[in-house]
Point group: C2
């Protein structure tokens, strides 16, 4: 009767729904007096942080917030933002962190789409919410975070608004949170940047975020008690999940309201920061900071970078600061990072430019990622030749539940047991995946596919190029041709850069036009190619 193994059933002692909320209790139990969160003069131990989370969660419950209610946040990386990563789901509700650079119309759209029941806003951003509330249909309750460090202190209405600290003070420290009965329950809601129309609401669940943290530890090589500088906005994929991961590791989280290179260097020095993260554009800002602001460090600092491949020049500059950069890849739909350019033993011996090329690839799967492949139109894996392009597809427990209230988009996102990323890439003989383009960023010129990333990579090799973005420009003869937008850090003319491209890549891939000037960027530092495409069309 081999089936006897199946007679043994789950019970309350041997089957516990996975949830990142469990990290807070364990860390506060074991390290109650260790510093948890530091923000300017405010310092909270893990025991204090847990008490604040419990009180705020209890206050939410008292005010009628419960299971599957959406609580939206428009706020910066302050302690309140961190607390809400625990307090909101403790009450059974869904945490919806919104990009602080969004306009009122988009915020209004999100409030209605997410059916926001409670909105927590930093006072500095109240005018955006105020405008949004005038147009949206829902009427959420509003709680304001009144941070004395804010750049501006706009007036608040006299009625109908509560202050975060008063609400928190009204809660009970005895509250233990709603019991979680299903690890598939929604935990958070993250809207995509919506460059192609309306933003979509990506839903995360407790199981996924638990595993995101658990898998990040072995793959990033985290050891207990990291000192993490929160440069990555927590509204972006819940800050890559690090609010929960750093709690798991009983680290100390250093909050940063507004990014500046000087602030980052100063904080790394003052707090002996061991880890931080940022898009390559953020690293680039550190590299090109004034010399008097820069610092280098005796102990290596681990830096996770995502959003674009870091150029060799940036990696070289980071090495001088003693920053050890790990390039990762992911999407809002995958809770953040699911691929990493995991270093191999022999990379360190290679020339720095070759190292940079290897590290600039998106890489191999994280420990919690079941599988990532690059497939052709027929669904077959492309050959591992570093040349044949296909679509990057992903399978794993950190793939979203789906898009909220959007069955069509959800249906289209999943095909044949994969989440289809919309990104195009290749696989190298060593199994490392390289992103070649967003499907929509590919330039089709005379029937040939040109990867805008490849053209950008070539431009980055020119010493005068600081930032480069390449998009399709309509062309009578070829259909489309590459058009480059460049921010310079040295001197170069359009003709010089085109000649440089001719020398360094296939002729048909060279940009036909190069325009100079500041590039439009999103809140997370991503270059806004949609805007550039519009400009290229009008040329």
């Amino acid at each position: 009767m081999p089936a006897a193994y199946d007679d043994l059933l789950r019970n309350a002692a041997n089957y516990i729904p996975l949830s990142p909320l469990s990290f807070l209790d364990r860390t506060a139990d074991i390290y109650p007096d260790r510093e948890a969160v530091v923000y300017n003069e405010r310092r909270y131990s893990w025991s204090e942080m847990r008490e604040r989370c419990r009180k705020f969660a209890s206050a939410l419950k008292k005010s009628g917030i419960g299971k599957n209610d959406t609580v939206s946040l428009l706020t910066f990386n302050t302690p309140e933002m961190f607390e809400c990563h625990f307090a909101v789901p403790m009450a059974g509700a869904v945490l919806n962190t919104i990009n602080t650079r969004l306009d009122a119309a988009t915020v209004a759209y999100i409030i209605d789409h997410a059916e926001t029941k409670l909105f927590i806003v930093d006072r500095e951003l109240w005018p955006v919410l105020e405008a949004a509330l005038k147009t949206c249909e829902s009427l959420p309750e509003v709680i304001v975070i009144d941070d004395p460090s804010a750049a501006t202190q706009p007036d608040l209405p006299q009625n109908g608004i509560q202050l975060y600290e008063s609400v928190l003070a009204s809660g009970s420290a005895e509250y233990r949170g709603e019991p979680l009965t299903d690890e598939w329950q929604a935990l958070s809601l993250n809207y995509t940047s919506g460059t192609t129309g309306r933003p979509k609401g990506v839903v995360y669940h407790h199981r996924g975020s638990y595993l995101m943290s658990m898998g990040t530890v072995p793959s990033w090589g985290l050891t207990p008690h990291p000192r993490y500088l929160y440069t990555v906005p927590m509204f972006h994929c819940n800050g890559w999940g690090h609010a929960w991961t750093m709690t798991l590791m009983a680290g100390t989280i250093y909050c940063l309201r507004a990014f500046s290179p000087k602030a980052v260097f100063d904080m790394i020095e003052a707090h002996k920061i061991t880890h931080f993260g940022g898009a390559p554009v953020v690293l680039n800002m550190l590299a090109s900071a004034p010399d008097e602001d820069k610092k280098s460090f005796d102990n290596p600092v681990s830096v996770m970078t995502a959003g674009a491949p870091p150029p060799a020049s940036v990696l070289e500059a980071m090495a001088e600061f003693n920053f050890d950069v790990m390039h990762v890849y992911g999407l809002t739909e995958t809770y953040g990072h699911i691929l990493q350019s995991a270093p191999q033993d022999d990379w360190a011996e290679k020339p720095i430019t070759e190292q940079a090329e290897l590290k600039a690839r998106q890489g191999v799967r994280f420990a919690m990622t079941d599988n990532v492949d690059v497939i052709d139109a027929a669904g077959h894996s492309v050959p591992h030749d570093g040349e044949t392009m296909g679509e990057i597809v992903i399978r794993g427990n950190t793939v979203m539940k789906g898009y909220l209230n959007d069955p069509n988009a959800t249906h289209e996102a999943f095909k044949n047991g994969w989440f289809v990323s919309g990104d195009l890439g290749v696989i190298y003989p060593d199994g490392y995946i390289q992103l070649r383009d967003r499907a929509k960023d590919i330039i089709i010129s005379g029937g040939e596919n040109i990867s805008s990333v490849e053209v950008e990579t070539t431009l980055y090799k020119h010493p005068a190029v600081d930032l480069a973005a390449v998009v399709a420009m309509p062309d009578e003869k070829w259909g489309e041709v590459p058009c480059a937008f460049v921010e310079l850090k040295g001197e170069a003319t359009e003709v010089e850069l085109i000649e440089f491209c001719l020398e360094n890549m296939a002729r048909f891939k060279r940009p036909k036009r190069i325009l100079f000037g500041e590039l439009p960027k999103t809140a997370t530092g991503k270059i806004q190619k949609t805007a550039l495409r519009a400009r290229a069309k009008s040329l």
Copy 2:
């Protein structure tokens, strides 16, 4: 309609059953040429190791092994033992590793109880299996591991036996394993030492072992590519899960067939070992090795110890070798370690004896452990005073499915949402748990649990024995050894009775001393073991 969050369902891309088998594919994909397993002159890369596992799993499938079939192993820590941790469950079967020191009668009992379909045995242990097969009812197929390093090479029968390498060679490297559809599926079967008579079969599942590995990493501070010396027998809780955990970390596993202090020191030096494990008795053997065998090391070696609290003298000796000892606690029923004496920042400044006292406590929960408490008879937590004793109870995803074919024992093991350990302990004001009294009848000898009831039962089989009581006696080398107190009804000497035990049970379970005389009894005639324990201590 807040319930819209619940409209988003699991699919093949976003819900993957958790399994430690997934670690092998990921590590072999990313680090195909890194060394995986080293044993004497044999060295396998991760790509080779995966191929061997696939081939052996395929051969198992061809021979009719499938879901929920029991495959039993009686073998040492050789590469085959490691491979079976993947190959057996890849075929859907359940891995049952058996203590190599058990006697034929107990092995026969396990074969019948587990309904073993295939038995894999090291040639050196063939005589034990041969004897077991004469008495058991089941007739499993037999595969023999023929290791040239074995201490003895007993003759094998000419028919009915296959050699491991031939079976492996007959398998296909194209095999990908049976698809896992339920993470609750049985993965392995580990027999307890049978504290109250017969051994019980503890069933692990895929989800639990996956989380055991994932939770060990942050709590033990493992970083990529450990060099792990496998001193802990893989038949103990699947070697504390480290076969899987080290695969997750893309480490190198150094196999050790037979423990000796010299071999351990030599291997640590030769292979730059970073991690190993062992009971305090094993550490004690290292500490008391001849000076010419000892070595100390420039780089710290992390050592996990379990089974008993390490004495201060042992911790001091370990520090001299540059061994960083982490004391952990767990049971077969919890997949191994679930508590750890996690160090606090201020411990390092304390005197070494105080440090030893702190580290000797069983400690606080691992990252994958939901909760551990000490409760009184009414089920309430005891005060955190370091004095009030209660029973240690455990809740988490690494608590067993239950006992195979033993609904009564399974029912009794779970109470009010807890697994009840049978161990008594206290909680200190800092939340650290300390074991005070093991389930009283257990003797822990060289890391092995010996049931006093079992020894007594054997003694009772001797015609001259009228009453027998066995308790633990302190022993410098083994920690504890059995000491028997006997009332005779016929004639027998101490030597005669010890020889009788040797003939009727595993050698390591025999009493080291036997004392004759009237036993102290309670009013109701129960033997007072407490008094006997005191006498044994003073011997």
